[in-house]
Symmetry: C2
Subunit: 176 residues, 2 copies
DNA sequence: CGGATGATCTTTCCAGTGTCAAGATAGAAG
DNA sequence: CTTCTATCTTGACACTGGAAAGATCATCCG
């Protein structure tokens, strides 16, 4: 999948590399959607882990900044899986494991936003704002749609995100 | 494509519905990537038209708000094509027609951001912030990942975006 | 010990797919 | 009247996902 994109992924090639016959995968995952759904679910688990690691024990708006950085970093480091997780029409969105893995990742964002706003009750507006900004950043970076400003180094795509993330966090921290 | 997603699109079924034989499309578009690329390019032309129509003759930060609304509205009204345009691995990103159509759509955003900031020189930070926010909003709405706040009607997905777009625009208008 | 059970994988088959090469058709150009 | 070009067809090939049926084998239970 990483080599040639989701569309080029094939059960048979997958089985070949695993050293089994072409219908062994079908036995374990039902069909190709089942397999991709499992891969996506594990992707969400990895996203959660990445965000937690990046957050560490940070508090306040620093926590949100780091969660955002972890989110974008994960997307950039594994773009094909990230796209599969969020925007592929080849996964089963109703799958319970996928849903709960997604919800857990989302929970990290919720708690970080709460840390940044200092509010006890969930602020849906702040959540939407934060998620949209960070997710859009991730998607645009994946597609290499953002160009470095004049004088800015482009070597690390994450560096391009840093300023925007800071701006998002700052805006949220001053939400009223 | 709209009926069953990009992954289920088939040249042969396409030809069947067009009333021609299975390899007529190949003659016109080379291969399936060529056809999808053409569809994506026309998608960008429609996106541009949609944003222009929504902007009308608005000026200042109102212009940016409307451009953002047009962007999101297009994405929500034709999600499969929007996804194809931005994040499919089945289009040829190097295609000149696709690139120029994309650049023209981007130009609308650039000019709207300039209108909102009032700056004459292009502000890359503001651009990134605006584009990330609006694009992320569009993607999350497409995937139905945003839930209405308590007491908020969910009937129209665009309504969920309105507040966030306003917040983005306001933040940009006060960029310094 | 010995049979039942269930998990894992294989074999075989089918309809469907993208792509290619070669040919047909027909209108326009000269 | 010939040539050219665009459009499409015919026929073939290797590949795909999936279904059905069977093989192998460890484990459990009496």
């Amino acid at each position: 999948m990483r080599e040639r994109g989701v569309h080029a992924f094939s059960l048979r090639e997958c089985a070949r590399r695993a050293g089994v016959t072409h219908s062994a995968p079908g036995h374990h995952f039902g069909d190709i959607t089942g397999l991709l759904t499992e891969v996506a679910a594990r992707g969400f688990e990895r996203l959660t882990a990445r965000m937690r690691a990046e957050r560490g024990d940070a508090e306040g708006s620093s926590a949100l900044h780091r969660i955002g950085r972890g989110y974008v970093a994960f997307a950039v480091s594994d773009p094909v899986i990230f796209l599969l997780m969020f925007h592929s029409d080849r996964v089963d969105r109703g799958n319970p494991k996928l849903q709960s893995a997604g919800a857990e990742a989302f929970g990290e964002l919720v708690s970080a936003v709460a840390a940044a706003t200092g509010k006890s009750s969930r602020d849906e507006d702040a959540l939407r704002f934060a998620w949209s900004g960070v997710h859009g950043m991730a998607m645009l970076l994946i597609d290499r749609r953002l160009k470095p400003a004049p004088g800015e180094r482009a070597s690390d795509p994450l560096a391009l995100a840093e300023g925007t993330i800071a701006r998002i966090v700052h805006t949220i921290a001053t939400f009223r």
